[in-house]
Symmetry: C2
Subunit: 492 residues, 2 copies
């Protein structure tokens, strides 16, 4: 029996934490140093990892040595390494050193900041930190902020508040169903808006039929003329426009909807405007890039995810609303067991549906302090410059094209050699993606632009360098060359 074996009762002793904690710290430092030696994407087919694990929990406790050995031998080979500097898929993220340190502390403190009284420092630091971040992004003092787990939740909360905006509807109390007095409530977004909008509309009981996706212009921006037409048509049909979701940095191509113009329409129509800047809002930390949020002062809510491009570990999504009371109307409900007489200015459970609330502010606060405004902006600028450099290389290469205007750190490319029809080129591009990702040096993802497959390279990890981006470009070219040598596939 080793010294750290669980005693009959109680927790493992603090010296077990110390011993294994130090081991893990060394392991993590080595991991971050040697991370390029890992394949970004693990090899293996579905079920490989599960098959190596017992089907039941053990009866007796096991030693931490044994468990951590299995982590290393069984699990790490099955991890997709989001921290790898060659991870350019989806949106690249960073658990920076200050962020990791904060999470270590948070895990040990294990506070639940549901009420001010259940951890005053958690609530107050969250208030301070969302105000700091607002300042960095150029948001004025009139915004009320909070940190949630995901942009999915932030957008859900925002649209729940939108649904409650007109007290006469009494949605919270009376619900939406079985009411003759209630018209259909409609939500509008561009055809490129994120799937979290669809999911929020589903959850809120609005119906996907009532999420109207407005077509985009040639630059992939929501067409305000069509938005206005749709609003008028819906009013004429007796529907009630409830909210517009504008996107500043679409997932597919990072295009930015004309928020200022949309805000003017929303104001005129009395419709809630939510701005999804989950990815691209981060660039506003660079003063010369604040245009990304141009017009946002006219919105009712905005979401920016520090866990995307502000070097903060998951989950950390910042949601601001103009009117905190709109959130309170939607959510405040205090059962007796949560009542306090502390005179707290804010109990965060009042402005959302989740009661449990981890100490998310700590990691964001440590990241903002450690990098500073200028440090954050410098990294954002470098990523944007790397993206432009990559795009220039692609543009200068025959048979390749940049498939959409390059915004921020996202580049969409397509291999389109002459003499191949579009469907066959789609198959080729999918094949190239699979081969690049199987190579293990970099990871990209894909989307469609005008219905055609394109490969997305999104830069956002603080550790990514020009070498990593160059490695992606080499891998793409190599995969294309191999793909061309294999028989041309039939159209997809």
């Amino acid at each position: 029996m080793t010294t750290d074996f669980a005693p009959p009762l109680g927790d493992f002793p603090p010296d077990a934490l110390a011993r294994h904690g130090h081991e893990l710290i060394d392991w993590i430092a080595r991991y971050l140093t040697e991370i390029r030696s890992y394949p970004v994407l693990p090899r293996g087919t579905p079920g490989t990892i599960a098959a190596q694990l017992p089907t039941q929990a053990p009866l007796q406790g096991e030693s931490l040595d044994d468990i951590l050995r299995d982590v290393r031998d069984l699990l790490i080979p099955g991890i997709t390494h989001w921290q790898h500097p060659g991870f350019f898929g989806y949106f690249s993220i960073t658990a920076s050193v200050p962020g990791i340190l904060a999470e270590i502390l948070s895990a040990a403190l294990n506070v639940n900041g549901m009420l001010w009284a259940t951890s005053p420092a958690a609530t107050e630091l969250e208030q301070v930190t969302v105000r700091w971040l607002a300042g960095l992004l150029g948001l004025d003092d009139g915004w009320f902020g909070q940190l949630t787990d995901t942009a999915s939740t932030s957008t859900l909360l925002a649209l729940a508040a939108a649904r409650e905006r007109d007290p006469a509807l009494a949605v919270r109390q009376r619900g939406l169903a079985g009411r003759a007095d209630l018209p259909v409530l409609r939500v509008y977004c561009s055809e490129l808006a994120h799937s979290s909008v669809d999911k929020a509309v589903m959850v809120l009981g609005l119906g996907t039929d009532n999420l109207v996706r407005i077509p985009v212009d040639a630059d992939f921006r929501m067409r305000t003329d069509l938005l206005e037409q749709q609003l008028a048509a819906d009013r004429a049909a007796g529907h009630r426009p409830m909210a517009i979701v504008a996107t500043a940095g679409t997932t597919g191509v990072a295009s930015v909807d004309p928020v200022r113009a949309i805000a003017a329409i929303a104001a005129r129509e009395g419709v809630w405007l939510h701005v999804d800047a989950a990815y691209a809002g981060a660039v506003a930390v660079a003063p010369e890039l604040r245009g990304v949020l141009d017009g946002v002062e006219g919105a009712q809510s905005v979401v920016v995810n520090p866990h995307k491009w502000l070097f903060t570990p998951v989950g950390c999504s910042a949601l601001w609303v103009r009117d905190a009371d709109a959130l309170r109307r939607a959510f405040t409900h205090v059962p007796e067991y949560l009542r306090t007489d502390a005179g707290a200015p804010l109990d965060y459970h009042d402005v959302g549906y989740q009661l449990g609330r981890p100490f998310r502010a700590l990691k964001l606060w440590m990241v903002l302090r450690a990098f500073g405004a200028e440090g954050l902006a410098a990294r954002i600028r470098e990523h944007n410059a790397l993206a432009q450099r990559f795009a220039d290389q692609v543009r200068a290469t025959p048979d390749w094209e940049v498939a959409a205007p390059v915004h921020f750190s996202l580049v969409c490319v397509r291999y389109a050699p002459p003499g191949i029809d579009a469907g066959s080129a789609d198959v080729l591009n999918r094949r190239i993606l699979a081969q690049v990702n199987a190579g293990g040096r970099v990871l990209l993802s894909h989307t469609t632009v005008h219905g055609r497959v394109v490969l997305r390279l999104a830069i956002g990890n603080a550790r990514s360098t020009a070498d990593d981006v160059d490695a992606a470009w080499s891998a793409l070219q190599e995969a294309a060359a191999i793909s061309r040598r294999t028989p041309t596939p039939a159209s997809a």
Copy 2:
């Protein structure tokens, strides 16, 4: 300039992680050793911590030394110490050593398990671990499980699936509003059900008017006769019963609704039954205590929170459903940029609304292995025995009463000296609570039972001992004695 100052670009170097990580590990080991020297509840009025922090983020990055010094000097004094063995408020929780170690690893890996492909080990370990936990709790193999952030989310997902159960209603697609074909949808729970049920009903657009709280019997269990009457009355009124939420371990007094009888009613009525066993479900790891989940096999969904009484850091809530397709009908929506051809058996974003998904399974898996089935059961039994011991002491003491049957590790007590009216006793009990919590050695919370204030002592921290519980009892008696010496307050 210290060696760990942020370089112009990139992250802080791994040696900064190593140096400060080792410092933090030592600090945490010391913290856990000396934790009884901290006041559970910090002293200080709202705004004290925020006032000590700058109003803006720094322009230049700061050293990690400075930041961690501020954590120690400014934040730790404002933390409510949920890890203190004298924390008996709300439901007591534990970041056990295996759980903390897992969170350290998770922070560094920073994976998003939204798809199988975005981290196969995360998805597969979650499948394995929820199956392990199901086995420990006596749940059969017919349950599909997942881990969410909170019971609030688990219950929201379950009720969203319930709303979608009848495809003919097409709620996801058509929504609830403006439909002449849709009756009011009703949800039923006991008057003691948790506020997360109210919040789910709000979010889903069902309306709090349509959450019917069924009165409880003398043992604080939902009265099935009244449930049946209500269902019949609602059918007669043209409403549609959508779901029943039974609670196994109410927040106020830990009573257990008659799930088996309710399941029979739900089956007969074709109504979804969700069982909220967030707190007390944990006791089912002890085979002789599995009665807590008696009848759950007839439910459509059940939630148990490992981050409550299974020694796992927040957030970790386990949700099982009988029919995974019910969740898929409610939530599956795959935009092009999330499509994979990996042939994955499960992409977890398909069974919930949140896209981002931290590696929650790692901490639960490490905790289950480290403690083992018998280790978990032994701790649960000890907590229950401590609760009984505390209740016996209270019962044996004049002027004190145990205010509700003692279930599991929760004891509700009330100071009720003769000759004082109930309202004045309420004021006295609130005063006692405030004084006990101000003392710093223990923390309790309160609720009402039959409209009267009672003080809740909930045992659940793996580090709590008989001494800690005795300290709570001493503090209560001392505070009562002092309260009696001050002028009797007017009725509240």
